[in-house]
Structures are given as C-alpha cells and as structure tokens.
Symmetry: C2
DNA sequence: ACCCAAATGTAGCCAAGGCTACGAAACCAT
DNA sequence: ATGGTTTCGTAGCCTTGGCTACATTTGGGT
C-alpha cells in the first residue's frame, strides 16, 4: 500500500542543505572506503616485519596463518603490494620489505604500540587494548597520536 | 640473480611459531576485513538518521552528497541494507530506518559523540577530532568506550 | 495538459578481498 | 634419486564498493 509520495515532510529542499551542520559530514567517508586497501597494506607490512623479526623470514603460509586468511588471498595481495612497491618477492621464495615497505611497517608498529599503551593507560584490559588498537591504529591522525603520547607522558 | 633459496635465516620452522607473541596476532584481522560492510552500514544508517532529523527525510541524492559517493552507489547499498533489514524503501521514494536500523543509528551516534568528545577532551582540535572519530568509532569496543566515558566524567 | 529538470534506477565495468579446487614447485627423507 | 609432504601459484567464483552512461519516473512550472 503505497501511501504518501514524498513521505511527509520535505520541508527544506534537501538539496543544497546537508553539507555539514549537526553531523551530516561528507567526503571523508567516501575516501575512508577506498582506504580499505591501505589498511590491508599496513596490516600486511606490519605482519611481514613481525615475522621477519620473529622467525627470520616471511613466507606466504606464515602470513596466511598470522592474518587468518588463506594462502591464496595472501599470494594475490602480495602481488598487489609488490606492484605498489612495498614488498618484493619471487615465486616460491620469501617475502621482503622494500625501503618504503619497511618504513611503513615501522610507522605502523610505532603507531600500534602507542595506541595500545594509551588504551592500557586508560584502564582497558590488555586483550581488549590489543584488539581495539588493531582497528583504531589505521584511523589515528598525527595530531591525535601526539595527544595520546602527551597523555602517556603525563600519566606514565 | 637469484641468490639463496629460502633466503638466509630459516632458523625456526616458522610453522607452529607465530600464534601471538610480540605482535603477530591473527584472526582478528581476517574478520576486520569483512567488517568493512558493517562499517558502511553504520555510516549509512547514521547519515540517514541525520538527514531525517535535519531535513525531514532521507533521499538517495542527499545521501550521495553526504557520503561523498554517487547516487548509484547509494542506491545499490540501500538495496543491501534493505536486504539486511536496516532500512526500507520503495522505488523513487524516501528511505526509512527499520527498528533495528534506528537502533543501530542511535548506537552509532552515541558512540560517535563519545569518541569525539573524548578526543576533544584530550586536546585534539575539533576538526581533527571529528575526522578521526569517524574512523575510530567503528573499532571501539564497549570496554574502551566505557573507559572513554569514565575519562570524560573525570575530566569534564 | 505537457514538458523539462531533477531524482532514481539499470546495465555494465573495475578493483579488491575472500574462498575452493587443483596443479606445480620445493624440500626433506629415506 | 625418488617419493611424499608442504608450500605456492593459477583458475575461477562470489561479494561489495565505486564509477560512467543511459533509461525511467517524479514533480513542478508554464
């Protein structure tokens, strides 16, 4: 039963209106979507760096285990990361980080540790802090990160 | 010039090793990937709720403007959200939130505001706080959110 | 009434992440 | 050196988010 046409209250033209105001923000979200690939890249280089530190090398299977995906997914993603210049690898060999890949990994690791320590300092349990940090670290700006560090210095 | 076979230091078997330790966490990431859809859903219902509050109704074009994507993307996503029971809409009509959609929107809004207020309390500039909150809000557990609120009460 | 502009919808394309199934290469032992 | 296990690559499929181009519906004006 199709009732009303344009619902009930068109009030404002709703055309030029929502540009910001109370909360109807824009653009930032659209970008955040495509940044999914960037987040994945960060997770990968971080995991690769960790594996190299822990076991001496990063293999596809290890990454698959670490990241909780199949080796196929890892393999394909590594291809993309190689295309983007973060890693280099040859068929059936280990995966290595390039300069920029290593730099990104260092950046992510530091960021991750800061976020984790910050959450811990707030009283969040270690396990929760670790889990939340994994999601949060990709969305913390330099300014916010600085605020976290400042808080840590004041309360550490 | 393909040098070594298995790189240089296989040291540990790298098989059963990386389960957690220093940082090589697992599973959480794999899930976080598919959760992308959930984040999108949250952004949409939040935007829909805002539009309804601000302009009286939520139309595809308004959502497109708000979210910074084309109306096509919005249209298709709305179809998925409808399938998932968060919204209901008929061709060429407004978009409405279902009960669960509205509940999700309320939850997200509250979460968003808490994160923003928390960042502001830490000294982060309004603009940055808003931007970061958009990314962070989807990754904050209840425990961490509670810690944020506690901090706000102690420093507000 | 009619027409036109704006709002929606549809078709079809791309990238990316996930998966299963299966084949090929590498390694380790015997 | 030969075979079996493990690792890796490829083929092929699904979902989802984004887009452009084009068709259709609405709704407001003249």
């Amino acid at each position: 039963m199709p009732a009303v046409r344009r619902s009930t209250a068109p009030s404002q033209p709703a055309s030029s209106a929502p540009t910001r105001s109370t909360s109807a923000q824009a653009s930032s979200l659209s970008k955040a979507r495509q940044d999914n690939a960037r987040e994945i890249a960060e997770d990968y280089v971080e995991a690769i760096a960790d594996l190299i530190t822990l076991t001496g090398e990063a293999r596809v299977v290890d990454l698959a285990r670490t990241l909780g995906v199949t080796h196929v997914t890892v393999s394909r993603t590594i291809t993309r990361l190689q295309r983007q210049g973060f890693v280099r690898s040859e068929p059936y060999r280990s995966i290595f980080l390039t300069e920029s890949g290593a730099a990104l990994a260092r950046d992510c690791k530091s960021r991750h540790e800061t976020v984790t320590a910050f959450l811990r300092a707030l009283g969040v349990r270690r396990e929760t802090a670790e889990r939340d940090a994994e999601g949060i670290e990709h969305h913390v700006s330099d300014e916010t990160l600085a605020a976290f560090l400042k808080f840590l210095h004041a309360n550490g």
